[in-house]
Subunit: 189 residues, 2 copies
Amino acid sequence: MKEKLLKSFQGFASFSEQEASLIISKTKLRNFRKKENLLKIGETCSAFYFILKGAIRQYRTTEDLDEITLNLYLENNWVLEHQSFTSQKPSTTTIQAFEDCTVYELDIHAIHELIGRSPSFFQLGKILEQPLLGIELYQNLPTPEQKYRAILTHNPQLIQKFPLKHIASYLKITPETLSRVRNKLSKSS
Amino acid sequence: MKEKLLKSFQGFASFSEQEASLIISKTKLRNFRKKENLLKIGETCSAFYFILKGAIRQYRTTEDLDEITLNLYLENNWVLEHQSFTSQKPSTTTIQAFEDCTVYELDIHAIHELIGRSPSFFQLGKILEQPLLGIELYQNLPTPEQKYRAILTHNPQLIQKFPLKHIASYLKITPETLSRVRNKLSKSS
DNA sequence: AGGAGCACTTGATCCAAATCAAGAAATTAA
DNA sequence: TTAATTTCTTGATTTGGATCAAGTGCTCCT
């Protein structure tokens, strides 16, 4: 049941078996229904979530009620609002279940408690970086085609799971442009 | 002599006087000549630098030998290559003195030693975030005018110190566009 | 099953910024 | 101080992606 979580830790940290099972004992299993919010605007992010099953979208709402997709998450990924968590101030973004989800929750009290026991748990801080990785990878590329190619290379499941409009927003291009890029690439291959 | 460094710590951390002076005792004062590199491509970033005097530019070189300016730093700022430092792998960017510089260097061994003495030195980790702040602030804005206004508001000294082409590259626009934006704004004010 | 909204595609038009180009001004080097 | 180089400005042209618009096909209701 918890081997996916263990595997994730092994990917970015070096915990002993005891340490890992101590962390895991602090996690709570939670379920969210499609469209249910893990974090609402104005709430302070007080936990890390690890997606066991499901998919999650994080977005910001503009004055004219458009939603800008900030991040898309699939299974075996860590989810949190970096800004809100590190500052412990209210979030300006929403984290929402895109489909029914099962997640592990590791809350800030548990984290502090662990760090109190042993400094090696400071490695948990690396989880903070996880959600930022994709953004770096895709959004800063100069052309829509490069962005789409990058996401195809590094995270093709994203494209299968989420509708084009969310992918487009995440890549900071319009759905029309993404549609054309995708069309062009499928022909040239 | 070291009160600038003290002031910087007070800005983002809460160290006791003893702790602060312990950190400071671990720093080395170093000088770099104009165009001298603090970090070269391929080297691993193994220290934080605090600029006492001077200005520093960080850039990446593309295949066709263009330099893309990634960050610009003035006095009283922390400089490092985040990616290389946190992963302890070779940097793909260059950090170079834009003019003669005097800096404090706090190397990774000193940092580890401090953290070994007291967990409160984990607050030093916040230095890692410092260089990323400006990038968030300017580069993600949608129009050249907004980028230029933002930099005018938050860091006008940058514009005075660095030539237009470096500012333009940092903002990811062309020098021509920046010249026109600046010209337009100076007329409308 | 039928209908109301979504999701996606495709085409036409527009526009902001990039590119290309050339000259003026400032800085650096000899 | 002059020559050489770099920096900056200004104009003309091009272009990639946004926007506008219309039509088709899904999906999810009840």
